[in-house]
């Protein structure tokens, strides 16, 4: 290591350590969010520079002389070498969603420290490792999907369990995300109008791109974003006008709209609705996240929440039930470790990567960015007054839904907020009420409007920023719902095609409608159950979603560990086996508690027994209001309990099967046959990191490629084909 590098990295380490020190020593006093940011960024930098590099060099043994599938199979369509910075953008847009925004907000119930520590430590040792390792293994296998790798590496049982797991998990994911949108839009004419407008905007963009200016995506997106901003502003006018009642809906009606919308989006051609929406949401996503990062740094807000609240250990909190272990990890989910990323890492990304060593930037680096979003979200939630936070996030069953009763409930928790303060907070963002606006999105929007109003535009812009934030979250949740429904539909068509041939044909209309309807009905059922749940849908369903996502991560880490063991790298298997063991311990404990706990607030079946027994006696237990509510609770807790058990069972099967395979591999005198594609020489010259090193610049210059771009070496070594890069020449 050169001296300059030693000095730089020592400085980074010191800054990170000082920030952690401040977080650790601050007790009973309010501290600035800057310390959280510093601790996060310092830790990311060290982890990226040292741990990710170690995994690449020693464990995966990335080999830049080996051609990637993008180079070998280049067909100009799905396989083609893509500039690493562009691919990072693609990959990030595909992995970033509402999960890392919602989870940390809910986890803020336990204070800012437990959530933040897990987001940072979890991403470094589990989440980013999973994303990078799966990306690498899939790349070495021509971009095979996680399901295919599970089948080939572990066996048919493991493969089928993984496939089934992915499908069920997707359904729960879609339901929970849709529930977040419903809770954010209910009784909010401003929000509902703005989101409704995204449909005609997307249709217009689709038409424009197809008929008027084919392929002009940037131009179309700029028009779309401008119309979107207009829709947010116009939402404010509509909310003030006599039209307001036309856009004010209860959650049940919004659920029906969403189900109909999901079905339409799944059967309509993609160019009409899905593709333009995707462009819009990508631009909004990246733009808003950049804005949020800048806002947090400039505004440097002070954290009002406790570092560790009493709900971490001593009492059961109102937002979600259960102790810190395992439920804070379940709730944070995507921001630290997300099984869903394994699907993206084994999907399109591995087919487009130029150089093997770029898996560090794209896999590990992309996930660090996602984790940073989660840190920003926990900051946004923790700068709110805790009284307001709990008034917004406790289910209507306990707050009573009115400012007076909510204030009393919050006081009973040991926090203070007056009814007048609750009214003022709602008025500041021009909403009817903020009481029991569960789901995380409204809380995050209040926090973001707080930060943005400080930096851009002052108090007068607060309501605009609130609805901007709601729009930003709802937009990409709806994109996930569109795409997720379609992905689910394809999986179903694929599977059912084995039983009845025509169903597998993508273009057969009745099959398309049937499978779309099945997928929509499945998540629609859970959405409906969540919306009408007297106990509050989010605190019932979110743990299921978290468990599901983390169990998918367990499947991905199992596949990775098996591949390491089978390829004779037993001594490095701990890199994925340790996070796997932790993840399995967390999720299986959570599932166990959700199924077997005697506490009706935690265990689904204990809850079922409690309400079923009361129902038999004809009693009504609060927060249920009548016997119908009682039987709804009994049904929901039964279904939720069965699902929690099913998820855990699937993963136990996969891990059990994997252990057998590992045992066989270790016992076998020779290494088991590899499923990797054979080595072929690579002719692409490209930097591995975000910026080219001096050495890489020299190599690029030798083939006549731009200093930060890439090019292809010709056989005689004399010259190269034209490189590609934007910021050169």
């Amino acid at each position: 290591m050169k001296l300059k590098s030693v000095v730089t990295w020592t400085a980074v380490a010191i800054v990170g350590a000082v920030c952690w020190g401040v977080l650790a020593l601050a007790r009973g006093e309010s501290i600035s969010a800057i310390w959280l940011l510093g601790a996060a960024l310092g830790s990311y930098a060290i982890a990226y520079r040292f741990y990710a590099r170690f995994i690449c060099k020693r464990v995966l043994q990335v080999d830049d002389t080996r051609a990637t599938p993008a180079e070998r199979l280049n067909n100009g369509v799905d396989y083609h070498p893509t500039d690493r910075r562009v691919l990072l953008g693609h990959h990030f847009a595909a992995i970033a969603g509402a999960g890392p925004l919602v989870g940390p907000v809910l986890a803020a119930q336990m204070g800012y420290l437990p959530g933040t520590i897990w987001i940072i430590v979890g991403v470094i040792f589990a989440g980013a490792v999973q994303d990078m390792v799966i990306l690498f293994f899939s790349m070495r296998r021509n971009g095979k999907s996680l399901g295919q790798m599970a089948r080939e590496e572990i066996g048919v049982v493991g493969g089928v369990a993984a496939l089934l797991g992915v499908f069920v998990i997707m359904i729960i994911l879609l339901a929970v995300l849709a529930l977040v949108v419903v809770n954010a839009l209910a009784q909010s004419p401003w929000g509902t109008f703005s989101i409704a407008m995204t449909i005609p905007i997307a249709l217009f963009m689709g038409f424009y791109l197809r008929v008027v200016r084919p392929g002009k995506v940037i131009e179309t997106s700029v028009i779309g974003v401008a119309l979107l901003i207009l829709a947010i502003i116009a939402g404010g006018w509509v909310a003030q006008s006599s039209w307001a009642s036309a856009f004010t809906f209860d959650p049940e009606t919004l659920t029906l709209f969403l189900v109909v919308y999901g079905f339409a989006a799944s059967v309509l051609p993609v160019w009409m609705l899905l593709a333009p929406r995707d462009y819009l949401s990508t631009f909004m996503k990246i733009g808003t996240i950049v804005l949020l990062a800048i806002g947090v740094v400039i505004a440097a807000p002070v954290l009002q929440a406790d570092a560790v609240s009493k709900f971490a250990f001593d009492e059961i909190g109102p937002v979600f039930s259960g102790d810190l272990f395992p439920f804070v990890f379940i709730t944070i989910a995507c921001g630290a470790l997300s099984g869903f990323h394994a699907l993206v890492s084994s999907g399109t990304t591995p087919k487009m990567i130029e150089k093997e060593s770029q898996v560090r930037l794209i896999g590990y680096g992309g996930m660090l960015m996602e984790s940073f979003v989660a840190v920003a979200a926990i900051i946004a939630a923790c700068i709110l007054d805790p009284g307001l936070y709990f008034a917004m996030n406790s289910p209507a069953g306990v707050t009573g839904g009115a400012v007076q009763s909510a204030s009393e409930f919050v006081n009973s928790l040991g926090f203070v907020i007056t009814p007048a303060e609750l009214d003022a907070a709602a008025a500041a963002v021009e909403e009817e009420s903020l009481v029991s606006r569960t789901g995380g999105a409204p809380t995050l929007a209040v926090g973001m409007s707080d930060i943005f109003a400080q930096v851009f535009g002052g108090e007068g812009m607060r309501a605009f920023w609130y609805h901007f934030a709601i729009m930003f979250e709802a937009l990409f949740i709806l994109t996930t719902v569109d795409a997720g429904t379609r992905v689910g539909r394809f999986m179903l068509q694929d599977t059912l095609g084995n039983i009845y041939k025509p169903l597998g044909r993508v273009s057969w209309k009745p099959g398309l409608w049937f499978t779309s309807a099945v997928v929509v009905a499945a998540w629609g059922y859970f959405l409906w159950a969540g919306v009408t749940d007297p106990l509050g849908g989010i605190n019932q369903l979110f743990p299921l979603f978290g468990i599901a996502n983390q169990l998918l991560a367990a499947i991905a880490l199992t596949v990775a560990t098996v591949i390491l063991v089978k390829s004779g790298k037993l001594k490095w298997a701990w890199v994925t086996a340790v996070p796997l063991a932790w993840d399995a311990a967390v999720t299986l404990t959570a599932s166990w508690q959700k199924v077997f706990s005697d506490d009706p607030k935690i265990g689904f079946f204990a809850q079922r027994d409690q309400y079923a027994a009361a129902l038999e006696r004809g009693e009504v237990l609060a927060p249920a209001k009548d016997l119908d509510d009682m039987s709804t609770i009994v049904t929901n807790s039964t279904v939720d309990g069965v699902l929690a058990a099913l998820f855990a069972l699937l993963v136990v099967v996969v891990i059990g099967n994997a252990l057998v395979v590992c045992w066989r591999a270790v016992r076998s005198p020779e290494p088991l046959p590899t499923t990797e594609e054979p080595w072929q020489e690579s002719k692409i010259v490209a930097p591995s990191g975000l910026f080219a090193t001096a050495e890489e610049k020299k190599q690029l210059a030798a083939i006549g490629a731009p200093p930060n771009g890439s090019g292809v070496r010709t056989d005689d070594g004399s010259g190269g084909s034209a490189g590609k890069d934007g910021d050169s020449s």
């Binding site: 969603g97 999960g99 993206v344 934007g726």
Partner: protein
């Protein structure tokens, strides 16, 4: 032209290049290049035709995360 102006133009060009690559706007150019190399004698589909084919392909979206 001053150096600052040149630098600004270069940055803007970089941003435009990045967005065009990210959104797939340049996909058609790459496709044409690819077609001409592999099938030099065949006619190349027009942009309008290509965008339709491309959207058929996009009909199977990849997984999106939560």
């Amino acid at each position: 032209m001053t150096a600052a102006w040149r630098r600004l133009r270069r940055t803007l060009r970089g941003v435009r290049w990045y967005l065009a690559e990210l959104t797939g706007e340049t996909e058609y150019d790459r496709f044409v290049e690819h077609r001409k190399r592999l099938h030099p004698d065949e006619p190349v589909p027009s942009r309008r035709e290509y965008e339709r084919i491309r959207h058929e392909r996009l009909a199977q979206p990849g997984a999106r995360c939560c």
